[in-house]
Symmetry: C2
Subunit: 402 residues, 2 copies
């Protein structure tokens, strides 16, 4: 391939080479088990606690409020599964939104089978949760609300500080899946009244297989994984020292470079959106603002997203139809459905998410490469022009992706 | 420090540099999300599936029977927590042993609170589970047995093939925590009739933060972590590609070098045991055979294990009192207690676990360094000579380590 243009940073990011360099000593030299009493153990423990302190500072938390996990999905599961049982006497009602990541939605569905009740808030067609809707859903039995900070597919940023304020007033635990925003948007768990926050290192140029859950001091929570009692008994298992060091390092760089990088990305992103919207029968999924600086979620009539992704890949361009977790599913994106988009229109989605290495010339190459791809796919599409798309509504079989 | 002699390989091992080299491309170059449709995703998916195949082959399993996790503790939790509920109609009885790792014991205790009944088998004073005891514990309601392959503190190897055979005959699920044996002892899940097997990469020179659970085809099991449906729906979360590649690479080297390395280690280990037993009032914890080639678990009267570990550390030697997870606990090791050792004798334990870099000269340095340490500690010990140790039996406060 002549070009290698990776525009799928919402799925995962490359490990920053500066981060890898900081991780390096912890692989084969300072490799001790942070639980060991000897020199090797102490060395590892110090690195883990230093990382904990740095991460806490980045989101205005206390070090002891950071629990290391294996990633965002585990963090979401720990936050949801393990706070509702200790609060069950208070109530059994959970509020979430219809366009959360599956790590939240499927966990909530699992809890529903065990007797919890859940309200899945609708979102506007621009992709925003409304405070009014949130307040309407509150009941005397509500114990937990989980609203994502930014949506992973369409990048729209939710009014979580306002929702946090309401939750605080009502004494309801507030969790936010911030997997797409940690290192990309400013987060202050105090100002935003967040009780639980999930993050994943590989989304901000850190290593895969490591994440954290912020848990506000005093929150009743049980472990999901039992064992040696690591992480104050909340998450057993030998600490992944290089991973934890790498996560802290990556967050440090991300926070430092955030403002400048976001301004740069937003310009490129808008250039990409505007370029793509030059193709007829296309649209932007989700409102343009407030939206993650790197996200361009587009839709094209009469064409399959998967086919666009594959043809772009042949041209050396990485894009996606939506969440990487669901790419092998035939079911249309639940995120796009939540915007009120008909099935047939959901199938024509194409998400570009920019990153640190994205250059203006990359954007120009994409804007040049996409129209002939869309044109060619439309030529072979049975849905092309003249067909009334509304006829196809609701005719797609629901296939569960598990 | 002039010397740096790491003899705590049961706690964790350094990442093999050959393994790191094989992981390297997957950090920042072949960094795609294995769930993505495009070239970057396919590249990662291929690496993950190649690793799965290699790992499966190493234990005579099928690739689809390997579920990647974040490590041994998570594997144990998934194996135990998520097989008993789907089998609850059949029965509610679990058999395990009194000297399992806390990842098993604490999970079983958690299940007991939820209505399951557990039998904790006694072990002999040599540290072996007896088939007779196992058969005595069986009831019509037994649905699951969990017996570790080798004990993490004393290294004794359990008759798991025989236990597996009984379980197969009775239609009982058989789990083994093989965290200490994968890559160190031959494992054949077919011959040994194992249904579920836990492993952790960092115990065999692979990376921290990654492990696997073998799950025999057809086993009823639910996910512990819900989400995007990765790992056939059994373990959601973006695949840790470099970690998985590293685990497969480490296992490949470990299996290839196993016989030769075990013969070498056993010689050194016996030299270490015999040298240490030259100190008076000392003993070997657990029978000498069958025992992991690298394990020397010793005991010394009138001296605290923690003090020995710290003084050895000052001499540049890493040892431990037992499990790294429990080093900060004041409670005496449940493993040593299970051998029938009185409290006061459990406190004098010292575990050396050798590894690939251990040389004969290291052993000689330890054998030379230890006697003056023991002597000095005994001089300041209130328990020293003349005191009847049996008086101290059961006088140690139980402090929970969580």
């Amino acid at each position: 391939m002549k070009h290698r243009i990776y525009l799928d940073h919402a799925a995962t990011t490359p490990l920053d080479k500066r981060v890898l360099k900081e991780m390096q000593p912890y692989f084969s030299e300072k490799f001790g088990n942070a639980g060991s009493l000897h020199f090797w153990g102490t060395e590892a423990r110090e690195a883990v606690e230093r990382a904990r302190g740095e991460i806490a500072k980045a989101i205005n938390a206390k070090p002891e409020e950071i629990i290391f996990t294996s990633g965002g999905t585990e963090s979401d599961n720990l936050a949801l599964q393990e706070t509702v049982y200790p609060n069950r006497k208070k109530g059994n009602h959970i509020i979430t939104t219809s366009f959360e990541h599956h790590a939240v939605l499927h966990t909530v569905q699992f809890l529903e089978k065990d007797g919890f009740e859940a309200s899945c808030l609708p979102v506007t067609k621009e992709g925003f949760v409304e405070l009014e809707e949130f307040e309407k859903a509150l009941t005397a039995k509500t114990i937990l609300a989980s609203v994502m900070h930014a949506n992973n597919e369409i990048g729209t940023i939710q009014p979580i500080a306002k929702i946090g304020e309401v939750c605080r007033e009502k004494g309801i635990l507030f969790h936010t899946d911030a997997v797409q925003t940690v290192g990309k948007e400013k987060i202050d768990v105090e100002k935003m009244n967040i009780d639980l926050l999930s993050a994943s290192a590989h989304k901000f140029y850190g290593p895969k297989g490591v994440g954290f859950l912020y848990v506000r001091q005093g929150t009743k929570i049980h472990p999901l994984v039992h064992g040696g009692g690591h992480e104050r008994g909340l998450r057993s298992g030998t600490e992944n020292t290089p991973g934890i060091v790498g996560m802290a390092s990556a967050l440090k760089f991300a926070v430092k470079e955030m403002d400048k990088e976001n301004a740069r990305l937003k310009k490129l992103r808008n250039r990409l959106i505007d370029g793509c919207l030059g193709i007829n029968d296309s649209w932007l999924n989700g409102g343009r603002e407030p939206r993650l600086a790197a996200n361009a979620a587009l839709g094209f009539d009469f064409v399959e997203g998967e086919s666009m992704v594959l043809m772009l890949s042949d041209k050396g361009i990485a894009a996606s139809t939506g969440s990487a977790c669901s790419t092998k599913s035939l079911e249309p994106s639940h995120v796009l459905r939540s915007l009120g988009l008909p099935h047939v229109k959901c199938h024509g989605s194409l998400r570009f998410t920019l990153g640190k290495d994205t250059k203006a010339s990359d954007i120009d190459y994409v804007v040049k490469s996409l129209p002939p791809i869309v044109e060619r796919l439309r030529e072979i599409s049975p849905l092309h022009k003249g067909v009334d798309l509304s006829e196809f509504e609701e005719d797609v079989e629901h296939v569960h992706e598990h």
